[in-house]
Structure formats: C-alpha cells, structure tokens
C-alpha cells in the first residue's frame, strides 16, 4: 500500500502517509514560480487509508497551492478506501451484569475527552443508535412561547415513552420532525409528577438542556410542533438485537448482540473523523476512483441540532462535516468515486464553486446530504454564494439523510449553469433534489442569479420524502428574474419520479417560493399527492413564467397550477389513470421517459 506522488517536473515520490503527502505537496507548491502552474498526480494503491484528521490543503493558508493542479486517483484497477474509522476489538466489550448487552469503555484522550460519534460500524455496516418508536408531540408552541415571552419548562410527551426513557442508562436525545425542519435536543430528565392529560392520553414533562430556550424561537413561523412525530434515542432502554447506543458523557458504548453472535468476533469500527479531505481555494482538483467512508458529526452531542431547510443548522449554518469538503473551489472533478456509509455529508462544496463535474459516482448510506454545491443563501452579491457551471451526471444516490432528515439528497444553491442529468436518486428522507434559494427581489437577468440556465433532466427518483413533509422529487425555490422577463431559461424534463404509497405531504415537481422562468415538460410523477406544484398556496410566493406541459401522473394534477395571469400555465397533462402500470400501459411516451431516466451504474 503506497501513495505515489507524481509530478510533472520531478521524479516520483512515495509517501507513507497523508501527513507526508501533505508536506510534499506544500513543498512542491512553494517551488512553483508566480504566474506558473504545475500538476501533481497522487496515485493511491489498493487498501484502506486512515484519516482521523482532515487531509487539508488550503490556498488561503498557503497561496502557492492555487498554482497547483492536483489529481488524486486510484491506481489502475484498484479501489483505495479513505476512511475515518478506527477499529475496536470485540473482545474488549464486557457483558453488562443482568443485561443482554455489552459495554465498551473508551479511554479518555489527552484532553480528557471521550470521542464523539453517532454511528457504529458493525461488521462494516453503519448503524445508528437505537431509538424509541415514534410518538406525537401534542402541544404546539404558543405565540408567546415563540417570542420567548413565556419560557416553557419542557415538552409534555407520552407518559409511557417517558417512563421507558427514564429507565434508560446513558445520555438520551429527543428528535422532533416538523414538516421540513428537524430538531434534536439533549434530554436532562422528566418530572413524572408533572403530568397532564389530553384526549384520554397522559403526558409527562420532559426537560432539556439549555438549547431548549433556543428551540422555542427556532421553529419556522409558518409551521408548528403540535402533532408532529418525535422519538427518543441513545438510552440503553432502546437496545435490541443488533443495536447499539453510545453514552458520550461517560465514554460507554453498548452493543446488543444478535442471537448467537459472539461479540468477541464482531468487527467494530467507530468513526473518528468528521471530514476526510478538505480543500480550500484550490483551482484544478480531480478525484477519481477513490472510496470514502467512516465519518460522523459530533456537533449534536454538545449542542443538540436545530435544522432549518436543506441541512442548515440554525445557529451555525451548514456543518462542514463531509467525506470531501471544498470551499471556494474551481475546476473540481469527481469521477468514479464512492461515498459510502458516512455520518455527515458525502461531498460538500461551499462558498462558491466554479466548473464542477461529478460523474459516475456512488453515494450511498449518507447521514446528511449526499451532494451539496453552494450555500443556503440567495445573496448573489456575496461572491461566496455564487456557483457556476455545475454538472452532475450519471450518479447513484441511495439511502440518504436518515440521520439528518432535512438534508436533501442533492442540494444546489444559487447557480448560473447547472446540469443535473441521468442520475438515480432513491430512498431519501426528504427531497431528492433541491436547487435555488429563497430569492424574492426584483432583478434583471444578469444583475444577479438565483438559478439560470438550469437543466434537470433524465433523472430517476424513487422513494423520496420518506420521513419529512413538504418536499419533492425535484424542488426548486426562488424567483429567477423580474416578472417582465418571460423567458424560460430553466428546464425540468425527462424525469421519472415514483414513490411507493402516496404520502400526503410529498410532491413530484415542486416550484416553490416565487419560482419563475421554468419549463417543466415530459416528466412523470407516481405516488405523489401533488404531482406538480407551482406554488399557488402562499400569495407572496406565487410562481410566474412557468409552463408545465406534457407531464404524466397517476394522481390528478391540481388546476390551481394554471394561472395564466401570471404566466404560469398548466398545459397538457396526462393524469387520467390511477396507477403506474396503467399509466405506462396507456402512454408509451411515459414508458420512454422511464426507459431514458437514471444512471448507468445500476441495471
């Protein structure tokens, strides 16, 4: 196993670690004269490369790196894996007296801390901490509570669930899903003497750490928490066969073996890294043939997690926890890579990206977003928010965002030139695809951009929106220029979206938040409550200059989408059959769309 560093001008250099590699690259970069560029190809042999700290190259810290063109590639025919996982020996687990589960005690590190991780890899499979069944939180927030004028003591949650939680050992968290938002708070306890009854069910007060004060104000003003699903996770009470929990405060990891499983022979790994590769300000980086795995995000353990739309934490913004994180990159290429079993994001590009190509890559079992390009901001005037020429083609994104369900599988911020073509996106907690942000200002095309020259085509979306509400297979947001410009310079076509079972909150092709200048044609939506939705519920966010035609659905498309006075036209739509088979039988064109949709990475 070796890292071979090839340079154009010097002999090849072998490195034994990424730390050595980093130093060699920096040394090489510093030798590049001003105004010149040089290339380095880093070839990785087969094997696992451990990174517990990010392999970081920053042109901000070392400006000479901007003169370097870097290619990280797998040696021919090899599949090197970059991982943040550290192994644990099963034999080091001890059985907990009187229980079926085992415990491993982490030693403290040099700073006296225990590691923070949310996933455990058991025989290579990423597991999440065991949790309670879901239940409903009964009470909405009052206006006074939202304003902070009345401070809530906590939440009244179902008594039975609370009792079970109290029987638990170790740190417990409570997660609540509210439409397109998600909140996780650290539980401090419960008061079984403070119980109230509603609709024949008893609820006990659960209290939380200090982040609860923020929670009261954090929920988006147009949604509320009453009758929304939540669950506890993390306590030993929830352990069952094949499950684990981790008490980060005591450094105790509990594992409940499967029947007949010899814990001593189980291979355990825990992720010790939040980010593997981190590039900043570089121009010309290529990743090809590499696999990434074994990351987590420790933020929730010390802060809770309050997510707004699309993977944004309301206090700190989008976390930079990703297998590959890039800030302000230019000419960045990912091809034939695999992002597997990651606790945070797969590929996360922030603060402006220019000329990005992601192709023929696999993103599977990703805790946050598989792929994000751009910030969650509509402020084009800030250079860090501008993305240009982004091309994502022929990728498979699967089982995404079940740890942080507000994360869309593929996210794109404001962008001038976006192609999302021939991808397969399946099994996602929230929207499969999201682009644009909440732009509402009047601007002439060119003065600024939300989405311009966008093409979302020939994608296959399956089983999206399985956890949260009010999202879609394809979700786009924001106006794209002032209303007097009627050109439709953004396109959604040739996509096939299907869900198994209609979810009342799921949509097919969703033009939200004053979306404008879209052509939506020749798409299929199956199993979506709203197959097409060009925002016509919220008056301040009505769409304009959007034409929807030649689309197919197994549910009726709402005629509210037809609003000629704002040039939002629902033209030809084929929605006269009630299931997918009938639709495909009746409409050969829909069959053709299905046949042409998706990536080539799966049959």
């Amino acid at each position: 196993m070796a890292i071979c560093l090839e340079t154009r001008v010097s002999e090849n250099v072998s490195c034994t670690s990424f730390r050595d590699l980093q130093e060699d690259i920096l040394r090489f970069a510093r030798e590049i004269p001003e105004g010149k560029t040089a290339e380095i190809a880093v070839e990785l042999d087969h094997g696992q490369y451990l990174l517990t700290e990010p392999f970081r190259l920053s042109a901000k810290e070392e400006p000479s790196l901007s003169r370097l063109r870097l290619a990280f590639k797998a040696k021919s025919g090899m599949r090197p894996i970059v991982t943040g996982c550290l192994p644990l020996c099963g034999a080091d687990f001890e059985k907990v007296a009187g229980k079926e589960y085992y415990r491993y005690r982490f030693p403290k590190d040099q700073e006296g801390k225990y590691p923070l991780f949310r996933e455990l890899y058991v025989n290579g499979n990423r597991l999440l901490p065991s949790r309670s069944p879901s239940f409903l939180n009964p009470d909405p927030l009052t206006a006074e509570e939202r304003r902070g004028e009345v401070k809530k003591k906590g939440l009244y949650l179902p008594l039975a669930a609370v009792k079970e939680m109290l029987s638990s050992d170790g740190a417990v968290f409570f997660t609540l899903h509210v439409e397109w938002e998600c909140f996780t708070m650290r539980v401090t306890g419960a008061d079984l003497s403070d119980v109230k009854e509603e609709n024949g069910e008893r609820y006990a007060l659960v209290t939380f750490r200090d982040e609860f004060a923020f929670f009261q104000r954090a929920v988006n003003g147009c949604i509320n928490i009453g009758n929304r699903e939540g669950y506890f996770w993390g306590g030993t009470a929830y352990l069952s066969e094949g499950g684990f929990v981790y008490d980060h405060e005591r450094g105790e990891l509990y594992y409940y073996p499967r029947e007949g499983e010899d814990v001593a022979r189980v291979r355990f790994d825990y992720p010790a890294a939040e980010t593997l590769f981190w590039f900043e300000g570089l121009d010309g980086v290529t990743l090809s043939g590499l696999s990434f795995t074994g990351t987590t995000s420790g933020y929730v353990f010390e802060n809770g997690y309050f997510s707004g739309q699309a993977n944004t934490e309301k206090r700190v913004g989008r976390l930079p926890h990703a297998a590959v994180c890039g800030d302000g990159l230019r000419n960045f290429t990912v091809k034939e890579c695999a992002f597997r079993s990651l606790g945070g994001n797969g590929l996360l590009l922030r603060d402006g990206a220019v000329n990005v190509s992601v192709s023929s890559s696999l993103f599977t079992d990703i805790g946050m977003s598989a792929l994000s390009v751009g910030n969650a901001s509509a402020k084009w005037e800030d250079k860090n928010n501008r993305n240009f020429n982004i091309r994502v083609e022929n990728n498979l994104l699967s089982h995404v965002a079940y740890t942080y369900p507000t994360s869309v599988a593929a996210y794109f911020g404001v962008a001038d030139g976006l192609r999302f073509l021939h991808n397969t996106v399946r099994d996602t907690a929230y929207s499969a695809f999201s682009a644009g942000w909440f732009s509402i200002e009047d601007f002439a095309l060119g003065e600024r951009v939300n989405l311009r020259d966008t093409e979302i085509a020939y994608n296959l979306f399956e089983d999206f929106m399985t956890v949260l509400r009010d999202g879609a297979a394809v979700y786009v947001a924001g106006n794209n220029c002032e209303a007097k410009d009627a050109r439709r310079f953004n396109k959604i076509y040739g996509n096939y979206a299907r869900r198994h079972g209609v979810n009342t909150a799921s949509r097919g092709y969703y033009l939200d938040a004053s979306s404008s200048n879209w052509d939506v044609s020749n798409n299929v939506a199956i199993g979506c409550y709203f197959p097409l939705f060009a925002q016509f519920h919220v008056p301040s966010q009505y769409t304009y200059h959007c034409h929807l035609y030649e689309n197919y659905a197994d549910r009726k498309v709402d005629v509210g989408n037809h609003a000629p006075w704002r040039d939002t036209l629902l033209l030809t739509v084929y929605d006269d059959v009630s299931d997918e088979d009938a639709l495909l039988a009746k409409y050969p064109a829909a069959r053709e769309i299905l046949g042409g949709a998706g990536c080539s990475l799966v049959p």
Partner: protein, 606 residues
C-alpha cells in the same frame, strides 16, 4: 406652447399639476420635488410637452449624486407630435456681413466667458451644414520614421502643393484640419503652417511639407503603431478655400463663421449650437421619454484640440467624448419610445456606464455626426459594475446618415452586455460599421456568468444598407470578444435573419458579418449579405484572436465566402451557404428564402 408638470408622491391621492413656461423650469421643478422623495415616499414626475421647439440655453442635468431624492423619482417626458428640444441659438441674417470679393458671408460671434465659442455645427432651417472641405486624395507616403527618438518623425506631412496653395491663398490655414481615414481610425488634425520650400514629388505630383499644430505630429506617429498612413484617403476640412454653396467654416480662435448660402442668406432660419449636451441624467431609475425629438447639439472638442480616433468612437487621449443630445449614466428601467434624434453634431443618445432594463424602440436617429446610439462603455472589465449592460432592447428604430463627421463612430454601439435584443432596425448610410457589440479581443478563462462580454444576445431582422461608406475594417454587423472559457461550447448568442447590402467595394476591408477578436459562442444563420468581398469574417487572420464555437449556416452572399471561416478544430463551422450568384436580384430570384429575409428585415418606420 406649454409645459405641463405632474407630480405625485407614492402615498398621495391626487397629483399636483403645474404649468411651466420652459422645459428647464419643468426639470428644475422635478429636481426640487425630488428632494422630498425617499425610499418609502417615491415621486412620480411627468412632463408633458406640447408641439413646438423648446430651446435650451444650458444643458439640463439630473444627478442622483447631487440630489439623492432623484434615486426615488421616476420621470416620464412625453411630447405631442412635433415637440422638440433643441440647443440651437438663432442667428439673424443681419449678423452676417458679405466678405468683400467673395461669395460668402461672415458672422462674428461674441466671446462667451472670455473666449469665443467652440462648436462645429451650423444649422440652416434646422439642417446641419457640412464644413467646407476639399476633395479626397490618396496620401502616397508612409511615415518617415516611427522611431520615437528620431526627430524626423516630428516634422510634418507632405501634402499636395496645389491644394495647399489654394488653402494658403485663401488666407485661412489656421482652422483647417487634415482629415485622414486610416483603416478603422480617422484623424482630424489642425494644420499650423506650410513650408513650400520643403518639397517632394511622386507620380508627377508635387507635395509640400505641412506642419501640424502643437505636438500633433508626434501624437500621430506614436499612436496605433501598426497602422500606416500610406495610400490612405485624406482631405482638408473647415477650409475657407473650399467654401461652396451650402457649406461653412468656423474659426474658433476669432469667432468667425463663414457661410456660403446655397441660395439666399435671408429667408432661412440660421442657427448654431454651443451645447454639447441637451439633457444629462445620472443614476435614476424609471425613465421614459416618449415622442420627444432632440436636435441642435454639437461638440467643441475637435475644433480646438484636433481629434485622434481609436475604435468605435473613442478619442485616443480622452476616450469617448460625452457629447450627445441625451446622456445617461447608471440608469435602469428606461424607455425611449418614438423619440427622434436628428441633426446632431456629436452623438444622439449616449448611455454611459451601467444600463439595466433599457428599451429603445420606434425611434429615429438621423444625420448624426458621431454614433446614433451607444449603450455602455468601450471597456472590457465586467468586474466594474459601471461597465455592465443588462437586458437591453433596441428594436424597430430607423438609423440613417450616421458618423460622417466622426467616421470611427459606429451607428449602433453596445458594449459588454448580458441580454440583448437588437432587432428589426433599419440602418442606412453610415460611415463605419452599422452595429458593433462587445469589447475585448483576447480569449478569456472565465466561466459563463463569472464575467460577461456578450451573453444571450440576439441580433436579428435588421436591415443595413450602405454601411462602411468611409472607413475600413468594419462591417454591417461587427461583434468582438470571447464570451467564456473555450471549454463551454454552447452558442448562446444569435445573429440571424439580417439583411445587409452595399455597393461592391474593391477590397475586403468592408465586411458583412464580422466576428472579431476571439469572438465565441455565436450562431450565425439565415443572413443575407450583398456587396462585400468578405461577406463573413470569423477572425482567421490574427492568430491570437481566432474565433471559436461559432457556427455559420444558411448565408446568402453575392460574393464568395472565404473557406478560412471553416475551422472545425476550434469549433468554428462554416456550414451551408449560397454564394455563387454575384447579382443580388438574381440571387433573390434563385433563393426565395433570401428574399424573405430581406423583406422581413428592418423597421416599420417610414
């Protein structure tokens, strides 16, 4: 003749209607009212002009920097048919005295602020007269030396002795300029004196040394080093020796205007203008000018400073002169509809700095000395917001007789632009190119959107006749500059369904559809071009400026199209074209599609 002013603040139920005696007062009242305008109290101002001439004694200026409230003021100026704003001052025939022994008259103009006025436009019955000028001749000599340190290059030019004797005999050499047409440049340089002893002869013609004023000979030598002066057309202008009926000269050092009437002195309205701008508006949004005519503006720059032009109406020392009937800076949401710009010595409508959402429709631009219309600066830094032009629409305008005074001025100029529709315009008789769009000659490495030269441009259905009548190396439609990194092959700019025709010229210096200086990402199709020897020119002469990602198809030409335009290795594709018939009528007969293009082109203004 009345000026009505309507003012209404945003929350005001009824508008204030005021009657003003002059247009200057009306604009002043708008400026006053604007002082009370704020972001939450916007002012809507309307000026209505009855039919008639509104004479300005001084330019009108509305400037947001001087009056912040103008940023929150929208202004509409609408005229009845025949409403005209003019900068001319009337001269009475009695002010002219017959020059003894000559057929022309002289008028002595008074000093203004201690100096004689500087202008070059004299109007008879509202029409600009041409300067008295000689016939053109070919200057046969190259520069004597272009070595800066060589004193020989500072001496002067050899010009025809017989013409110089005529000029000197008229005792009026001082204000006379030598006009030189040098490819896409021209020079108008004031002479100083003649040395008849310093002679040379060529082809039986005697030439004498003419010394230029000031350091102009050095300037001539040192600028535009790759352009020569040999075998280029020259003539003398503002030259009393060549006064003929219907011409004039003006000596700005003595305030003497010599006029040779075409018929009688009396019975005509005589006038001149010293105003270089009529109206200037800076930084405002929401401007509408409808059915307003502008005339009677001039420029006083050349007559006192000489003129060394660069490309596209630039002056080598001071860049583009801000002399125009109407000037705007940094404006948005602007409409000029049904306006007329005519009989103007400098520019018609000059929109400098940034422009956003501008529509110029149904307007007439006629007999204008510089450019009819300029939108944007001749600059190539999109990073500077002042150079950005966004959403520009120039449609259904008539543009005629443009640039003959300052021939490097294109008829319609648009700088760097994101979103351009330039359609259904008729352009007739222009000294240089009919249309010029974009700036910058080199390849670029920015991604589309990061920066812009020309993006989403559509130049279509225009009718361009008798273009390139004076200068060389221009075209009916000229575009220049790379438009994004070469890795992006999209053709997001379109040039189609245009018709251009002129009398066949002897060489390839006058071109049809010209993509210069690394032009890229153009689709050029369904165009007709008659009477030029380079009907299509997708730069393939200058190696550093080759074009890329340009596809050219369905071109109808009366002259063979050069195969050099076909360069697949840089995705410059010359596809289908029809160039085998030299006669336009015959070509139209054979190709009804070409006739259809011709018939659908141009504006619908008479």
């Amino acid at each position: 003749m009345n000026v009505t002013l309507k003012l209404r603040y945003a929350e005001q139920e009824e508008e204030n209607i005021l009657s003003q005696s002059t247009i200057t007062e009306a604009f002043a009242a708008v400026a006053d009212a604007a002082k009370e305008a704020k972001a939450d109290r916007k002012l809507k101002a309307e000026i209505l002009l009855e039919k008639g001439d509104y004479r300005l004694d001084a330019p009108i200026l509305l400037d947001v920097e001087e009056n912040e409230g103008l940023a929150y003021t929208s202004l509409s100026v609408e005229g009845e048919s025949g409403a005209r704003i003019t900068g001319t001052q009337v001269l009475d025939a009695s002010q002219f005295k017959k020059v003894e022994g000559k057929p022309y008259y002289v008028c002595h103009l008074p000093k203004e602020n201690g100096d004689y006025p500087a202008f070059e436009d004299f109007f008879v019955d509202g029409v600009r007269l041409p300067f008295a000028s000689s016939e053109r001749f070919i200057h046969p000599f190259p520069y004597e030396s272009r070595v800066k340190e060589d004193p020989v290059n500072l001496i002067g030019l050899f010009l025809p002795e017989d013409m110089m004797r005529k000029i000197v005999d008229a005792d009026a050499i001082v204000p006379t300029h030598i006009m030189m047409f040098i490819e896409w440049h021209f020079k108008s340089i004031e002479m100083d004196y003649v040395d008849f002893e310093d002679k040379r002869e060529k082809d039986g013609v005697s030439y004498v040394r003419v010394h230029l004023k000031n350091d102009y000979m050095a300037l001539l030598n040192n600028i535009n080093g790759f352009l020569g002066i040999q075998n280029r057309e020259f003539y003398f202008t503002n030259c009393p020796a060549y006064l003929e009926p219907g011409t004039f000269t003006y000596n700005p050092y003595a305030g003497e205007l010599f006029y040779y009437p075409a018929d009688t002195l009396e019975g005509h309205e005589l006038g001149y203008s010293t105003l270089e701008n009529l109206i200037t508006i800076k930084g405002m949004s929401g401007l509408t000018f409808k059915n307003v005519a502008f005339t009677g503006a001039t420029t006083g720059y050349r007559i006192k400073n000489s003129y060394f032009s660069g490309q596209a109406n630039c002056e080598s020392r001071v860049r583009r002169l801000s002399h125009a009937a109407m000037i705007t800076h940094d404006v948005r949401d602007v409409v000029f509809d049904g306006c007329a710009f005519s009989e103007l010595g400098a520019n018609g409508l000059q929109m400098k700095d940034s422009n956003t959402n501008v529509s110029i429709v149904n307007c007439r631009f006629t007999h204008i000395g510089m450019s009819a219309l300029s939108v944007g600066n001749p600059e190539k830094e999109w990073g500077n917001p002042k150079n950005r032009n966004i959403a520009i629409r120039i449609e259904n305008n008539l543009v005629e007789d443009i640039g003959y005074t300052y021939p490097s001025a294109v008829a319609l100029y648009v700088g760097m632009v994101d979103g351009l529709v330039l359609s259904h315009n008729t352009i007739r008789k222009c000294a240089y190119s009919g249309v010029s769009v974009g700036w910058g000659w080199s390849r670029v490495d920015y991604e589309l959107g990061e920066s812009v030269n020309i993006r989403d441009a559509e130049i279509s259905y225009n009718r361009i006749e008798d273009f390139m009548m004076l200068l060389r190396d221009g075209a009916a439609i000229y575009v220049l500059g790379a438009n994004c990194d070469a890795s992006n092959a999209r053709r997001f700019n379109k040039m189609h369904d245009n018709y251009a025709s002129r009398e066949l010229y002897r060489d390839g210096s006058k071109r049809g559809y010209y993509m210069d200086g690394s032009s890229s990402n153009w689709d050029v199709y369904d165009n007709v071009i008659c009477g030029v020897r380079l009907p299509i020119f997708s730069q393939f002469h200058c190696a550093g400026q080759y074009t890329f990602h340009n596809h050219i198809n369905n071109i109808y030409s009366t002259y063979p199209i050069d195969r050099g335009n076909h360069a697949p290795w840089r995705d410059t594709i010359l596809g289908v074209y029809h160039d085998e018939i030299a006669d336009e009528a015959e070509m139209m007969k054979k190709y009804p599609e070409a006739a259809a293009i011709r018939d659908a082109s141009g504006c619908d203004l008479k």
